[in-house]
């Protein structure tokens, strides 16, 4: 019986010109978005590969030079793009694409795409995630807002009730009728994505399970919206009121809550300005060992300790070049300073994340948004991971360069030039993102929030339809 009601609702919807037009428009938009996203992805991937190769070439083709000059010359780490970013662009537009790796400094990632766009870009892009997160819930509302009010307005409700069917079974049938077209539409997009991604060459780790999981996340999100739509339709007196109320729900869930929680997070736990962050680091750096400054108090202290440790009375008698050694110790001190300040920044970020987590109580959009980005590896956590990996690589690279200088030259010999092979011997930067297991573990709060939303809204649907 439930199946019959579902099919009846589905057919009835299909017969409505309005529904057919909306479905057609959304399908078309999804196709356009997928195509644009795919071509954008390809071009970015190509640019990335080219830039990565160029950066490596520039690094290995350096002439013979002092390793510390090479350290200052530095190289670039480019953030890779992952297959599922085809569906969800996440925060990529706002997080920069590359990090400059040089001596003494941990740099922030540079070149966020949004800074290279017009003010209009803040309205959003026509990407699959935009359609999936914002437009399809609207389609659900447009399909289901009158599921119950219509019966009441046409006077068919009493007729239906007289069939002796429990109301919640009827509600389930209506639920299916609204959900089915959405399911088919979403499945269509994900199948297209799977085919496109499966056929891409040199694409790295395309994970079908992650794609399926993302599909399930969106289905749960839509199930919640179908529940909310039917609840509002069940308690509204008129179709018009139901529709306007649902629009209000949509606005709160998809637009107002994300924005308001951003404002609250920023007000409670603001990030320092770039300049203030940099000066705080500079102040801390000055307190410790400066690898370039032998007269610095910490450097003097370190010099004394080293002489004592090796039982010699002059830096010239050390079995290595003290300049390189001091440079390395300075680097280690600076790395600690950066570690401390970035840990503070990360702490702020985590506090902000807690605000978003709290806001998931009022918005199923938020956990869906965060899960989808995390699975696409376009979330802020992945960006942090990448930045941390780049920093780790930078420190290793600095160590290799400083130690080459320390071990292969004598004290005061700044004219020392390392062989070209040194540049090649430092391996290229490569970044492996955390496994999907870790991603899910990190997002357990979002998974729970989404599950709670689904159960509570199903419960609500049963409760409110029972009261009609």
């Amino acid at each position: 019986m439930i199946r019959r009601i579902m099919l009846k609702e589905f057919k009835e919807n299909l017969r409505q010109g309005r529904f057919r037009v909306s479905l057609l428009i959304v399908s078309l938009l999804l196709l356009i978005a997928a195509w644009l996203s795919f071509s954008y992805f390809n071009s970015i991937q190509q640019q990335h590969a080219e830039a990565k190769e160029n950066a490596r070439n520039i690094w290995v083709s350096q002439d013979e030079k002092n390793p510390h000059s090479a350290a200052h010359y530095g190289t670039y780490a480019f953030k890779p793009k992952y297959p599922l970013s085809l569906i969800d662009h996440g925060v990529d537009k706002y997080s920069g694409i590359s990090i400059f790796l040089e001596a003494h400094k941990r740099n922030e990632s540079q070149f966020m795409a949004a800074a290279d766009q017009t003010g209009l870009s803040r309205f959003g892009d026509l990407t699959p995630d935009f359609i999936l997160l914002f437009i399809i819930p609207l389609l659900i509302i447009l399909t289901g807002y009158n599921a119950f009010t219509r019966e009441r307005e046409l006077g068919t409700w009493q007729l239906l009730r007289s069939q002796g069917l429990p109301v919640w079974k009827l509600a389930l049938g209506k639920w299916g009728g609204v959900f089915l077209p959405i399911f088919l539409l979403t499945a269509g997009l994900f199948i297209i994505a799977a085919v496109l991604l499966g056929n891409l060459q040199d694409f790295g780790q395309f994970n079908l399970a992650a794609l399926l999981l993302m599909f399930v996340v969106y289905l749960v999100y839509y199930a919640i919206f179908v529940n909310l739509t039917l609840i509002v339709s069940a308690i509204s007196r008129h179709s018009g009121i139901s529709l306007v109320s649902l629009l209000l729900v949509w606005i709160v869930v998809c637009l107002a809550m994300p924005k308001a929680s951003s404002n609250l997070a920023d007000a409670a736990f603001p990030y320092p300005s770039r300049q203030a962050f940099a000066s705080a680091i500079d102040e801390d750096k000055k307190l410790g060992l400066d690898g370039h400054n032998p007269w610095n108090q910490a450097a003097k202290e370190f010099e004394r300790e080293t002489l004592e440790k090796y039982g010699v009375d002059s830096l010239h008698k050390l079995p290595f070049n003290f300049d390189g050694y001091r440079m390395q110790k300075g680097e280690e001190h600076e790395a600690e300073v950066y570690f401390k300040h970035y840990a503070l920044l990360k702490e702020t970020h985590q506090q902000q994340t807690k605000v978003y987590q709290a806001a998931t109580v009022l918005s199923p959009f938020l956990p869906t948004r965060f899960l989808s980005m995390a699975l696409a590896r376009t979330d802020y956590r992945t960006h942090w991971d990448f930045a941390d990996a780049a920093e780790k690589y930078r420190l290793k690279m600095q160590e290799a360069l400083n130690m080459d200088f320390a071990e292969n030259s004598s004290y005061g010999n700044w004219a020392y030039r390392a062989d070209k092979s040194l540049w090649k011997n430092i391996p290229d930067f490569s970044y492996t993102p955390p496994s999907y297991g870790t991603v899910l573990q990190r997002n357990s709060g979002n998974l729970v929030a989404l599950a709670v939303w689904m159960f509570v809204s199903f419960f609500g649907l049963r409760y409110f339809t029972g009261k009609i």
Binding site: L29, L36, Y40, Q47, H48, E50, A51, N54, I58, Y73, G90, Y94, G96, I97, S98, E108, Q110, F111, M112, A115, D116, Q117, T118, G119, L120, R122, F123, G124, L126, T127, I135, L138, Y145, N146, S239, G240, L243, V244, L247, L248, I251, L255, A256, P258, K259, A260, S261, S262, N263, D266, P272, S273, R274, Q275, A276, F277, L345, Q352, Y356, Y380
Partner: protein, 480 residues
């Protein structure tokens, strides 16, 4: 025939019925909440921005006074307890360690629209050498916040206001018909069109009145001076009134079709989705797809190659640089290293200019495309105008970047002759140091043009409605 008395009677009747249905109370309360919350958010961002700028200025002042003490001692021939490379009498030390704050303070109306202010930095401290500001002007921020955007007044006006209008006016005619009151109204000596227009107009007046009063009260309370720039204040108010009118007229026209309340709601919402969500994101997408910005990743590598080449040729460069700058030549003092550095910087700047220009050109093309297409949607017109009124538009930040770039050259040029001549920086020169004062771009051409465009939209809707209503008989609106 319509008589003045009957109009007044209808107005009164409508007003009382809205009051009794608690619509007015609901509207007033909702708008109050939205406007206060959004302005509070805007103020919080502006306070943070001004706080960091003032802090930076205070730090610089403090450092300057220490610098002056050091200069005093050095000039008096005393020994000072700072290493050579921190001595402010060396022009390269002064130019690097004692920078000025080149800040972009918040505009009087900055709390209205966050615009691009969360992306870009509001102050930098250009130094005579080192980091290039052309490349990095973005602020340290949580990208999630940038993605979600801010709950500011601009969001309330662009996105939420139309929805309030839709909720308030989607059934002005259909409800009367559905409740069977329309036949009764038709028996009155007033044309149904005029009656409907009056109903819509009354609602418009009420909503506009509440909104304007709210704005006039809340804006000064968060520190916006309404009289600082009367032109801007009136542009803001007219923009709001115009945008509101647009949505009311649209609701009026859709009611005129004589369909059911639910049908009206669906149609209005479809318009809202198209004008506020789909068109803006589609236009943005076309701008990015048709006029893509060249790869920044490529730029990075190109810059490095240019830098290496310049360093290799430092000697030759110095010679040609001095040929171009005879005023700096012929001095014995000064460090050779610094001279070569400045000469190579000059070349690097020249070499990278074409690459940077390429970005500029593609950004300009994007901007021009978007500027032309903005007339498609009143939401775009309002966003552009509000950003301009708030001083947070892309244009403002671009202008600021240019001013900083000019200032950093002036700053460098102040010290370069000293470096080349091998002269010291003296305390007396402190007063002559170049300073930075941000000059906001003059004129509000975009907001004025957008305001007019919104008015034109309203005129077209009103005209269209009139023509249509003449063609259709009142009977079409009556229940079958």
């Amino acid at each position: 025939m319509k008589t003045p008395n009957s109009s007044r009677y209808h107005f009164r009747y409508e007003f009382i019925s809205l009051l009794r249905q608690r619509w007015l109370q609901f509207l007033g309360f909702t708008l109050l909440l939205l406007v206060v919350f959004s302005l509070y958010n805007g103020k919080q961002k502006v306070d943070l921005r001004m706080g960091t700028i003032n802090e930076a200025i205070a730090t610089v002042k403090e450092k300057d006074s220490l610098g002056v003490i050091l200069l005093d001692s050095i000039e008096a021939g005393h020994t000072v307890s700072v290493p050579r490379w921190y001595m402010p009498n060396k022009p390269n030390v002064m130019g690097y360690n004692y920078p000025r704050v080149a800040a972009m303070p918040a505009d009087n109306m900055a709390m209205i629209a966050t615009g691009q202010s969360d992306i870009y930095s509001h102050y930098v401290k250009p130094t005579m050498y080192g980091e290039s500001f052309e490349l990095n002007f973005t602020e340290l921020s949580n990208p999630v916040q940038l993605m979600f955007g801010s709950f500011d007044l601009s969001f309330v006006l662009i996105y939420l206001l139309p929805l309030i209008v839709i909720a308030f006016a989607y059934n002005i005619l259909s409800q009367e018909r559905e409740q069977g009151i329309l036949s009764l109204v038709a028996s009155h000596p007033i044309s149904l069109y005029n009656w409907l227009l009056q109903k819509a107009f009354l609602r418009y007046i009420i909503l506009a009145g509440i909104l304007i009063v709210l704005l006039l009260v809340t804006l000064p309370s968060v520190g916006v001076s309404l009289f600082a720039d009367i032109g801007k204040t009136s542009t803001l108010l007219l923009l709001t009134l115009g945008y509101l009118l647009f949505w009311f007229l649209l609701a009026f026209l859709i009611n005129l079709r004589g369909k059911s309340s639910a049908n009206n709601a669906v149609t209005l919402i479809a318009w809202w989705i198209a004008l506020v969500l789909l068109l803006p994101s589609s236009i943005n997408q076309t701008a990015n797809s048709l006029f893509p910005v060249p790869s920044r990743a490529r730029l990075v590598n190109e810059l490095r190659v240019v830098n290496v080449e310049a360093e290799k040729k430092a000697d030759e460069l110095l010679a040609s640089f001095l040929r171009d700058h005879p005023e700096l030549a012929g001095h014995e003092g000064g460090s050779q290293g610094w001279k070569e550095y400045f000469a190579s910087q000059d070349l690097i700047r020249k070499e990278i200019q074409p690459v940077l220009d390429e970005y500029e050109v593609s950004l300009q093309r994007q901007q021009a495309w978007v500027d032309n297409l903005r007339f498609i949607s009143p939401a775009l017109l309002l966003q552009g105008a509000l950003n301009e009124v708030s001083g947070t538009s892309t244009k403002h930040y671009k202008n600021y970047r240019q001013q900083v770039s000019d200032f950093s050259i002036a700053w460098r040029d102040f010290f370069m002759p000293l470096v080349f001549r091998g002269e010291d920086f003296t305390k007396a020169m402190m007063a002559d140091l170049p300073g930075f004062t941000y000059q906001p771009p003059a004129g509000n051409s975009t907001s004025t043009a957008n305001m007019i465009a919104i008015m034109v939209y309203c005129g077209l809707l009103l005209g269209g409605g009139l023509v249509w209503s003449r063609k259709r008989s009142s009977r079409a609106l009556m229940p079958a």
